[in-house]
């Protein structure tokens, strides 16, 4: 467990947001009220966030996401885990992802 985020759990995008890929950018658009500040705001992800987001498919546990990324980037797993947990915290606060199962 990391700050309430369980690395053994899988997460997926919430049905309360619409996720679009436009010209190479991941754009997250709130669908229902209570996600963003209602008016005129969208959300995008930085490069790290994008790489993590595309792996949140509701089947793969976060620990597997960390392993995959550590391998791909040839980076220490501890460092990658920090990024994954950091992103998940941001997404959960904004109700953009949900825990699966």
């Amino acid at each position: 467990m990391n700050d309430g985020i369980d690395l053994n759990k899988a997460y997926e995008p919430s049905e309360d947001v619409v996720v679009r890929e436009i010209e190479g950018e991941i754009v997250i658009v709130p669908l229902v009220s209570g996600i963003g500040d209602i008016e005129d705001e969208l959300y995008t992800l930085n490069e790290t966030g994008r790489d993590i987001w595309t792996r949140l498919d509701g089947t793969k546990p976060l620990a597997a996401v960390v392993r995959e990324l550590a391998e791909e980037y040839d980076a220490p797993a501890g460092l990658v885990e920090g990024d994954v947990v950091g992103l998940l915290e941001e997404l959960i606060v904004r109700k953009m992802v949900v825990e699966k199962g």
Partner: protein, 391 residues
């Protein structure tokens, strides 16, 4: 990857260029005129067929066609769609079209008179917000004035009820006024009322330079022309809060540089937006209906219109001698509303100077000290020097 990355999720306003790190999408905004019909019959309106016009209703695109168009718009990267009319809420399938747009991840601008807002629609807009403030046109502060403009008994009460429903359901909205003979005495009251509404602070916009009908209805156009503010009235109204307007007008002129030459289109950036009328005809903007600038989507595609047709329209050049000799040389283009759509509505051409807007811009320039009374801006040899001298 780094542990010190401060934030992976970035909040941006969709109109900001920094949303795009590589290139902008082919289409960023789509304006949709869902119907020409309206349940009001406003004196000054450039688009209001009767609500019950069966011929117009029969020709309107069904929801399925709009949904397909929205699908294509989203696939081209579109972020914002504007649903307008006429009165878009007259469409019984409005909620269906709206929800489809929102489920595609589009933000939706809704232009309405609010009289047809129902409890169910207000709840829906509260639960699935449009992500843009609903824009509500207001035609007066009391029943007598409002209905003198809308010529529709009961419309004032319906508008107040609709606005109340939006407010109760937490739907952000802004109000826009219209300065007409009937409402001229209520401007201060309107602005004070608007400032107390939830949402955006500041002075609401009020239209007074009304467009003629782009469908070129001569009798209605005479009526609209008679309701427009004179140049003197416009200057007096715009400067009633002090001299800041003069500075802004000088800045507009300075920023926009010299004359237009033979350029016709000054208003929209290259690429990015398009408009579609109720029958599936794509236009450069909702007001420009010159046959040479209209594309039938039934015979093509949105992508085809964006990549081939609109660039050709944008490349059109003025040929009329009066335009080239006046607008082509005039340094007031930052103030003047001359454009192909206005030329079309008034004269049936793309490049005829519109005397009304020319008069308004000249009155502003005289008031701001950029011109002497009676002087014509296109006769000023060096507009840049004139702007510097007067600033």
């Amino acid at each position: 990857m780094t542990r010190s990355a401060p934030a992976h999720v970035r909040k941006v306003r969709s109109g900001e260029a920094r949303l795009w790190t590589s290139r902008r999408p082919l289409l960023t905004r789509l304006d949709i005129e869902l119907t020409e019909r309206c349940n009001n019959d406003c004196l000054h309106c450039s688009i209001n067929l009767p609500a019950g016009d069966r011929e117009a209703r029969g020709r309107e695109w069904p929801a399925g066609s709009w949904k397909k168009l929205l699908d294509e718009a989203a696939s081209l990267g579109c972020l914002v769609v504007r649903l307008t009319g006429g009165e878009p809420l007259l469409r019984e399938d409005f909620e269906d079209i709206y929800l489809h747009a929102r489920r595609l991840g589009l933000r939706v601008m809704i232009f309405t008179n609010a009289t047809l807002v129902t409890p169910s629609l207000a709840r829906l807009l509260g639960q699935v917000p449009p992500l843009e403030a609903v824009e509500v046109s207001v035609y007066g502060m009391r029943r007598e004035t409002y209905e003198a403009v809308t010529r529709t008994p009961g419309s004032f009460a319906a508008f107040r009820r609709g606005l109340g429903l939006l407010e109760e359901n937490g739907v952000p909205f802004i109000v826009k006024g219209a300065v007409l003979p009937a409402t001229r005495g209520e401007v201060e009251e309107f602005e004070a009322w608007a400032s107390r509404l939830p949402g955006r602070p500041g002075v609401p916009s009020s239209a007074m330079l009304f467009d003629l009908r782009s469908r070129r209805d001569g009798r209605k156009n005479e009526l609209i022309a008679g309701l427009r503010a004179t140049p003197e009235e416009f200057v007096r109204f715009s400067t009633r809060r002090g001299g800041r307007a003069f500075e802004e007008w000088r800045e507009f002129c300075a920023r926009s540089g010299g004359g237009r030459g033979d350029r016709l289109f000054m208003c929209l950036p290259s690429g990015g937006s398009a408009a579609v009328d109720p029958y599936g005809r794509l236009q450069y903007c909702l007001s420009l209906r010159h046959p040479a600038t209209v594309y039938d989507l039934a015979q093509g595609s949105l992508r085809g219109a964006m990549t081939e047709f609109l660039p050709e329209v944008r490349a059109l050049r003025a040929v009329a001698k009066t335009y080239l000799e006046r607008c082509g040389l005039c340094f007031l283009k930052g103030l003047c509303e001359q454009c192909p759509a206005k030329s079309w509505a008034e004269h049936g051409t793309l490049d005829t100077p519109v005397e009304y807007f020319c008069g308004i811009a000249h009155a502003q320039a005289v008031a701001a000290g950029l011109l002497e009374p009676g002087e014509k801006a296109w006769t000023v040899a060096d507009g840049t020097a004139r702007m510097k001298r007067r600033s």
